[in-house]
């Protein structure tokens, strides 16, 4: 793949095609409102599926399905806590990505600080 070399525009684009594809994949996972809503809930901290379904008023199977899509795109990870399976944002990049996205559309995430604390206590 092509490598970036600043100052010489003839050498090709600064991002390789593979990187662009991967970034586009990550953004694709954010391209459905229901998945963004789920991520918004997880911004407040890790949650089991049951919490998400009651918070969002969505069917459990739909939430599980969307969570699987998010997991496949490394935006969400699942952990076993006792007998429950708890979902959390994959890492701090995802938190930053969502916060930046919310600022971009002119919304401040209210529970942003709480999410930060959760992420630091989890790690």
């Amino acid at each position: 793949m092509r490598r970036s070399s600043p100052g010489t525009p003839a050498s090709g684009p600064p991002l390789s095609e593979t990187v662009a594809e991967r970034l586009a994949d990550a953004m694709f996972a954010l391209s459905t409102p229901s998945r963004v809503l789920i991520l918004g809930c997880l911004l407040e901290g890790p949650r089991p599926v049951g919490d998400l379904t009651s918070l969002l008023g969505m069917e459990q199977s739909s939430v599980s399905h969307q969570l699987r899509v998010l997991r496949d795109h490394a935006l969400v990870r699942a952990e076993r806590v006792g007998r429950q399976r708890v979902y959390a944002l994959h890492d701090e990049h995802v938190i930053a990505l969502l916060q930046a996205g919310l600022r971009h559309v002119g919304e401040q995430g209210q529970a942003v600080t709480a999410a930060d604390e959760d992420a630091s206590s989890a790690s």
């Binding site: 594809e21 586009a24 994949d25 694709f28 459905t32 409102p33 229901s34 969505m58 069917e59 199977s61 739909s62 399905h65 969307q66 969570l67 699987r68 899509v69 997991r71 496949d72």
Partner: protein
């Protein structure tokens, strides 16, 4: 888009310029969005202009063609060729009409799944899951995976038998075929996969020279009337086997997912329909050629009514019509097996990706979508391994699988029919009344045939052939047609039928936001009864297979 379009028709162009490309909002994989990159051409995703010139229409058709042609050519797979050969050898031209009917059934079914894929952007497994609940979804997926696995085993048996004819041991031919199959989608380029499939589709024309050769070398050619002797053996089992081999659940799942993966949207549906028609013709050509070949070669000989398996057919054809006839039959069998295995395995991997929400696309490489390619490779390797186990009763497996498919098929068709009447899913693209009438009568007839098979399996001495059967089947067809005409098409007030404005870009809203399907008691009762019946029928077939194995 050239300036010529603006000259062609101002009205269409204003519509076209401002109509966005149909964006299917339930896609699970970014690779399902973008330009159509077919084996024979490319259509840009931003291309929403009208196609007024004949040449541009042909170019678009060549680019879009693929899912229908591949799935229907793959229908003449190992099990298919063996069954057509059996029908021809044992019953002459008696079942030729059935192949014509089956071609019509295939056309109706595959058009419906192609439409579901283009309009919704979701795979068949996911639609069943979302619209009928988790249990039905799991059951449908389970059905599909079990049956697919058995079918892939029969494809490898086909490979072993056909290359065995040329003296290649199965311990070489089967692993080689498995490697080739795993290599097909590995490049992560949809176009490359489709080109490989087209080579196999082109090779399926072998059946035509085979028929011509046999026609030339058999003397005297028996009269058509003589080609239909009554032979011992169950006619009903033969009918169900033929129906089961031609109409199988994997075709529904395959074409829908392949249409989604090829990025065909509702805007291109007329071309996708033409693709399905082309595929149906290919299917009919291949199937009729094999059946007539075997009818010509074996009627009025001691071999009439003495079918054993496909490799025996090849050597008997060699004795009857020369070495080329045998070789061509073996090559047709090999080709059908490879094409069938490629399509059936892919339908499993698509369905798994569809339900688990993992990336599943032929546009992706192994590194990009490891679960998709991994499940594909695992299925191929597992099926190949089973065929290599010595002394497995392979011929019986072939017949049993086809019959099992025939019994499980009605359930798949019931889901298909209900989905195609779900206005939340298809909007202005729901089935028309006449299509419902045809599809419902097909389901009813297949249900009766499966029922007859069950009876003849459980009570071997029961009289299942004859005029009673014909009357029963006709009655079922008429009842089904009436049911189809009265099928409630949800919420008819929301959108009118026919060509509404915006129909070419209508797509299903995100699937999780759809209103729950109307749960009429009739629908629930029908589904429960169907399942109970199907379990019973599947058990009966298992008993039959067990008895056959015990007897041999």
């Amino acid at each position: 888009m050239s300036q010529r379009n603006t000259i062609d028709g101002a009205h269409d162009v204003t519509q076209a310029w401002f109509s966005p490309p149909a964006d299917r909002r339930s896609l699970l994989d970014r690779a399902h969005r973008g330009d159509i990159v077919g084996a024979l051409g490319r259509v840009r995703s931003a291309d929403t202009g009208p196609r007024r010139r004949y040449r541009r229409r042909v170019a678009a058709f060549l680019a879009i063609m693929g899912p229908g042609v591949i799935v229907l050519a793959a229908d003449n797979d190992a099990g298919g060729i063996a069954t057509y050969a059996q029908a021809g050898q044992d019953y002459g031209l008696r079942f030729l009409w059935l192949l014509v009917v089956m071609a019509g059934v295939l056309l109706v079914n595959q058009e419906m799944v192609g439409r579901l894929g283009a309009v919704t952007g979701a795979g068949h497994a996911r639609l069943i899951h979302e619209r009928f609940g988790r249990r039905w979804g799991a059951f449908a997926l389970g059905d599909l995976l079990i049956l697919n696995f058995l079918v892939i085993v029969t494809e490898f048996i086909g490979v072993a038998l056909s290359l065995g004819y040329f003296g290649v041991t199965r311990y070489i031919s089967v692993p080689l075929a498995a490697l080739a199959l795993i290599a097909f989608p590995l490049a992560g380029r949809f176009r490359r996969w489709e080109r490989a499939m087209y080579l196999l589709v082109a090779a399926s024309f072998i059946a035509v020279p085979l028929l011509m050769l046999v026609h030339h070398s058999v003397h005297p050619i028996p009269a058509v009337a003589a080609l239909g002797h009554r032979v011992p053996g169950s006619t009903v089992l033969m009918v169900v086997a033929l129906a089961g081999t031609t109409v199988a659940p994997w075709q529904l799942f395959f074409q829908q997912s392949n249409v989604v993966d090829k990025r065909i949207t509702a805007r291109w549906l007329p071309y996708e329909r033409a693709d399905t028609v082309a595929g149906t013709l290919l299917f009919a050509l291949g199937a009729v050629a094999i059946l007539v070949t075997c009818a010509l070669a074996f009627s009025a000989t001691p071999l009439h009514g003495a079918f054993t398996d496909a490799s025996t057919v090849a050597s008997e054809l060699r004795d009857r019509a020369g070495p080329w006839a045998g070789a061509l039959f073996a090559m047709a069998l090999l080709n059908g097996s490879l094409l069938g295995a490629a399509a059936v395995t892919l339908s499993s991997s698509y369905a798994i990706g569809d339900v688990t929400g993992t990336k599943h696309s032929l546009h992706r490489t192994w590194r990009d979508a490891p679960k998709f390619h991994g499940s594909y490779a695992a299925l191929v390797v597992l099926a190949a391994t089973i065929v290599l186990i010595p002394k497995a009763p392979l011929g019986i497996v072939t017949t049993g699988v086809q019959a099992l498919a025939g019994v499980l098929l009605p359930s798949a068709l019931v889901f298909l029919l209900l989905l195609c009447n779900d206005r939340a899913v298809l909007g202005p693209w729901v089935n028309s009344r006449w299509l419902n009438a045809i599809a419902a009568s097909v389901v009813a007839v297949l249900l009766v045939l499966s029922g007859l098979l069950t009876i003849s399996t459980l009570f071997p001495h029961a009289q299942t052939g004859g005029p009673h059967t014909a009357i029963l089947v006709t009655a079922a067809g008429i009842l089904g047609m009436l049911f189809g005409l009265r099928l409630p098409r949800h919420d008819t007030t929301a959108t009118p039928d026919g060509d509404v404005p915006g129909k070419p870009i209508w797509t299903m809203p995100p699937i999780e936001t759809l209103p729950a399907p109307l749960r009429s008691p009739a629908r629930t009762i029908a589904l429960v009864t169907l399942r109970a019946y199907l379990l019973l029928a599947a058990t009966a077939i298992m008993i039959k297979i067990a008895r056959l194995i015990a007897a041999s």
